[in-house]
């Protein structure tokens, strides 16, 4: 008796609550529920509790959950986003099919997302026959608790508290991609900015996918039967490369038959691993009591999953549900069980290519049926789940020409290539220099983007252009070199194609040290690098080596900066480096000086110059055989000879390789110029490309054109101008041989040579003893004498 009284009080209380609309707009025709508050196209009601206890409205009426726990009733087609807040499909004052939902969404289209005549449980164009409905009221406790998806039907028992036939748990699935899980709006905001993003991809049916997704399906499970398993989509974001597993979770016997990973794979789903039968859910039908939460049900499942496979399903599923951990979703209203099985599998995947601008969206999909027209085809199947991955532009610093990019082979004696720029940009031509030797003259290059070119019997080096349409990381560029004998050499390098390579380096912004040092952090800028040499400078030097520095090039910048760190290029002096003597008490070489770090920084150190170009002229005249010449023409240059040129006016201009061309291979020559030497090449950026042994002793200034990027030889001068025709240039400068000045320099190389890429040295001086010094050892040298008289 007491229980009856309590029940009566409870029912009365609930009745009173349910009759209070939170928000009521104009309701021109009521087609709703017992409470008389049905939507008629542009009217919506929100209820604080489940109050719609009467029979469902004849058409379109339904209710979905708000996160607040209240419910909102609205008409068909309105759900663009089941994640709250709910949206309206109808515009103000409109009735009928909402804008944007055209013929495709009609009931008759067999739309897997809409469920045939009764799309998503609601009638579409044409509607249902008289007396039939496709509406379910599953979430209205005690009312209209039955639902049969996909067909018009006579509304089944929706009388209050009447148990309904046991529903069959609907198969469903969840697909999780690698990356950071985000909401759809976050995903769209993050990826839709450039190139259209998802905004263009969302066909109405896709919206339907989202609309009919998670909540309805999972709510249906929660109430013991629920809506048909349509498609659910989860969203993930990553950077330029995203590796991991696509994880599948099938529930209630979902049979996964088709799978695409969004890249290459499309075929049968991987073999599932049966996890465990799901615990019973639902609730025992009927009355308001018997509270069972979906969350509780899934907790159990997640627990097993975590134990068995270390997968994190609980949170994604809960997020899809839009639940907080304390939220009770439904009461057991329809009876039945949530039973079936859970299965899972994983598919390893790496997403790494972009679509040429800023983003790339991949969609993976698992379905129970045939994927007819691809993952974007709404007719493909009726039950599926998918996940979307959005990538952003590469920011990491990867240089194709670095040795570290080599995946296979790449021996310049047989088969190798380089790329300029070494960080190609999508949409911008890149120059590929294909190199081989020893008769491997047939080139075939696979650019890694699906394009392949062949160049039979080609000269080496062969320069070919290529444009990458897509940015991304991880392209493997493969060059195959073969000779007539059928021998094959292969060079494979891994490349990153950038969206924008003008500032891909992500260098940390220099900041002032807050405490206590007043001096600012050194500012990375153009910098000079040495190899295999000792260094002196008669002034201070500003040469901050940036962290993460890369090679000047991959052919000559091969010396180590640190022992056992062959790919660390961040140092001022590499290889078999000697000491550095700097006339300054404070010098900062940034990321590193050298592997030995021999340094004398001393503002009082005066470099003792025993032999200047001028005194060498005197020495030669006194002690050496030499030839006096009047110009640097081929007929005046002799091999293995010292040449003395005293021009009037005291300036000589070199425009080509006439001088080195006059020197036979293996021989050498010394050119003494009593004046300035100007190197201003007419048709090349490299002086002495053949690397003949030639030493210039310049009793004046060495003037170098800004267009010259490489000098081969030994250059001894009083002073040097590294770009006489420009205040500064982005052209780098490499001197292979040596350069040495007899006085404090007017400028330093990196003052005027300022490469765009701050990670690469702007100037690179290498000490080439073998090719440059050995052939002129007798010419570019002095003797010491020790005299004594044995008999007085």
């Amino acid at each position: 008796m007491k229980g009856i009284v309590l029940c009566f009080i409870s029912l009365t209380f609930l009745f009173l609550l349910s009759s209070i609309p939170v928000q009521a707009q104009s309701c021109t025709s009521t087609v709703c529920y017992k409470d008389g508050c049905g939507p008629d196209g542009n009217t919506q009601y929100e209820y604080t509790q489940r109050t719609c206890t009467g029979a469902p409205g004849p058409l379109g009426a339904c209710a979905y959950s708000l996160q607040s726990g209240a419910y909102r009733a609205y008409r068909t087609y309105t759900t663009l986003n089941q994640n709250t807040p709910l949206g309206w499909g109808c515009g103000a004052g409109q009735c009928g099919d909402p804008a944007g939902f055209g013929v495709e969404d009609s009931c008759s289209g067999g739309n897997p997302l809409e469920g045939g005549e009764c799309a998503g449980g609601f009638p579409r164009a044409g509607g249902c026959p008289a007396g039939q409905y496709c509406q379910g009221c599953d979430m209205y406790a005690g009312e209209c608790c039955n639902f049969v998806p996909g067909a018009c039907q006579v509304v089944l028992g929706c009388s209050g508290g009447s148990p309904t036939p046991t529903p069959t748990p609907q198969p469903s699935c969840t697909l999780s991609c690698p990356g950071t899980e985000v909401s759809e709006s976050e995903f769209n905001n993050a990826t839709g900015g450039a190139g259209g993003g998802l905004g263009q991809r969302n066909t109405p049916s896709e919206k339907g996918v989202v609309a009919g997704a998670s909540s309805s399906r999972l709510l249906a499970q929660g109430v013991g039967g629920g809506l048909p398993g349509t498609t659910t989509t989860q969203y993930y974001l990553g950077e330029s490369v995203l590796s991991g597993n696509i994880t599948f979770l099938g529930e209630s016997g979902f049979t996964c038959q088709e799978f695409v990973d969004g890249i290459l794979y499309q075929g049968p789903c991987p073999s599932p691993t049966l996890i465990t039968p799901t615990p019973p859910g639902g609730g025992g039908g009927g009355a308001i009591g018997g509270v069972t939460t979906v969350r509780d049900s899934f907790d159990a499942g997640s627990f097993f999953l975590k134990l068995l496979s270390n997968l994190s399903f609980f949170k994604p599923i809960r997020d899809v549900l839009g639940l907080s951990t304390s939220q009770t979703l439904v009461q057991g209203v329809g009876g039945g069980e949530e039973s079936g099985s859970l299965s899972t599998w994983q598919h390893p995947v790496t997403y790494e290519y972009l679509d040429g601008s800023n983003t790339k969206v991949y969609t993976a999909l698992a379905s129970s049926g045939e994927i007819i027209g691809g993952i974007d085809d709404p007719k493909s199947n009726s039950q599926s789940c998918s996940c979307k991955v959005g990538l952003s532009c590469p920011l990491s610093v990867t240089d194709i020409n670095d040795p570290g990019s080599i995946v296979e082979g790449c021996d310049d004696q047989y088969c190798d290539f380089s790329v300029d720029p070494s960080r190609p940009q999508a949409g911008i031509p890149a120059q590929f220099t294909l190199m081989n030797n020893n008769g491997f003259r047939n080139f075939t290059i696979d650019y890694g983007d699906g394009q392949t070119e062949s160049y039979p019997n080609a000269e080496s080096p062969l320069i070919v252009p290529h444009i990458y349409a897509n940015a991304g990381a991880g392209q493997q560029i493969s060059l195959t070199c073969s000779n007539p004998g059928g021998n094959i050499k292969t060079c494979v390098r891994r490349a990153t194609i950038y969206c924008d390579n003008t500032d891909p380096y992500n260098l940390p912004t220099p900041t002032l040290s807050p405490t206590p040092s007043p001096s600012p952090s050194p500012t990375p800028g153009p910098w000079l690098k040495l190899k295999d040499t000792s260094f002196t400078i008669r002034s201070s030097i500003n040469n901050v080596v940036p962290a993460g520095a890369t090679q000047y090039d991959d052919t000559s910048d091969t010396g180590v900066c640190r022992v056992n760190e062959p790919t660390n290029y961040a140092c001022f002096s590499s290889g078999e480096t000697g000491s550095a003597i700097v006339k300054s008490d404070a010098v900062d070489f940034g990321a590193g000086l050298s592997q030995r770090d021999w340094l004398r920084k001393d503002a009082n150190y005066v470099i003792n110059t025993l032999l200047t170009p001028s005194s060498f002229i005197s020495y030669v005249k006194a002690r050496k055989d030499y030839a006096t010449i009047t110009s640097l023409t081929q007929d005046q240059i002799q091999s293995n000879m010292i040449h003395l040129l005293q021009p009037d006016p005291p300036i000589v201009i070199i425009t080509d390789d006439t001088v080195p061309d006059a020197i036979p291979a293996g021989a050498g020559a010394v050119i003494i110029i009593d004046g300035d030497l100007v190197i201003d090449l007419a048709s090349s950026d490299t002086f002495n490309a053949a690397n003949k042994a030639i030493a210039f002793v310049i009793n004046g200034t060495l003037e170098i054109s800004s267009q010259v990027t490489e000098l081969n030889g030994i250059f001894i001068a009083n002073d040097v101008n590294y770009a006489f025709d420009a205040a500064a240039t982005s052209n780098p400068l490499k001197i292979n041989g040596n350069i040495s000045l007899s006085q404090s320099p007017t400028q330093q190389c990196n003052d005027v040579r300022q490469r765009i890429d701050p990670l690469k040295p702007s100037c690179f001086f290498t000490f080439d003893f073998v090719n440059q010094y050995v052939p002129v050892i007798d010419l570019l040298s002095t003797r010491t004498y020790d005299w004594s008289e044995l008999t007085p």
Binding site: T536, R600, L790
Partner: protein, 261 residues
């Protein structure tokens, strides 16, 4: 009267004796002077002839011996210049100035072909300080360090060491002390040339001499230059002059060798 005459005669005799003595002495002195002058003249001739022999040797890198009388076309002068390539167990450098360097040929240098001699060296070696001599050289202007560079003629720089006892240079990697064993066998590829550069902060540094000793028993260093000895005789006095000149093999000046921006 007779007594007076006798006295006069005696005086005359004495005076005559004195005068004769003085005269004869003068004659003898003159003759000796003439002889000394002749010897000195011959000595000068001999020295000049020896120097000419040295010069001739300097201008003839292939000569092993030179007949000085022949090159001077003077029958009163004779002599010979010999040129030797002396191998030693220990070699002492000339004085190396501040910021100067000395090129030491580990496998030798061929003055005829003007090339570095091919070969290998794997002997242990020491580098000792000969000059400055003071044990406390680090405390004053004579403080210095030596950068040792090993170079292969076929592959370039193959190793570097720093002798920095004072110390003057930051960094302690690959450091040795004077007199410590430096195993060239640990340097790969094997070097052909060793260059010792003197680093001295003070402008009053007087220079350094270094002794490079081959620590392997019985091993010798190849010649580091040509030892030219010229011996010449001139004139009837047959005065002999002997001059020795050591001419090093090519030395790369540090100003042409060290990168300077």
């Amino acid at each position: 009267m007779k007594n007076q005459a006798g006295q006069v005669l005696l005086i005359v005799i004495l005076l005559s004796t004195v005068l004769l003595t003085v005269g004869l002495s003068l004659i003898d002195i003159t003759a000796l002077d003439n002889k000394v002058t002749k010897i000195q003249e011959d000595a000068s001739k001999a020295r000049a002839a020896a120097e000419a022999g040295i010069e001739a040797a300097l201008n003839d890198v292939s000569a092993e011996s030179i007949d000085i009388g022949q090159i001077l076309a003077d029958s009163t002068i004779s002599g010979t210049t010999t040129i030797e390539l002396i191998e030693e167990n220990a070699f002492t450098t000339p004085i190396i100035s501040k910021d100067g360097q000395f090129t030491f040929y580990l496998t030798g240098y061929n003055p005829q072909t003007k090339t570095i001699t091919a070969g290998t060296v794997d002997d242990d070696m020491t580098i000792e300080r000969v000059l400055p001599t003071s044990a406390g050289y680090c405390s004053g202007d004579q403080a210095f360090a030596v950068e040792v560079t090993f170079i292969s003629a076929s592959t370039g720089v193959v190793g570097r060491y720093m002798i920095d006892e004072c110390p003057l240079i930051e960094g302690s990697t690959d450091e040795y002390a004077f007199g410590a064993i430096i195993p060239t066998s640990s340097i790969s590829p094997e070097p052909n040339v060793m260059i010792m550069r003197v680093i001295a902060p003070s402008n009053d540094f007087d220079g350094a001499r270094l002794r490079i000793t081959n620590s392997t028993e019985g091993a010798q260093w190849p010649a580091q230059g040509r030892t030219i000895i010229a011996t010449a005789q001139a004139g009837a006095s047959n005065v002999t002059k002997k001059i020795k000149l050591f001419q090093s093999f090519p030395q790369f000046p540090a100003e042409f060798f060290v990168t300077s921006n």
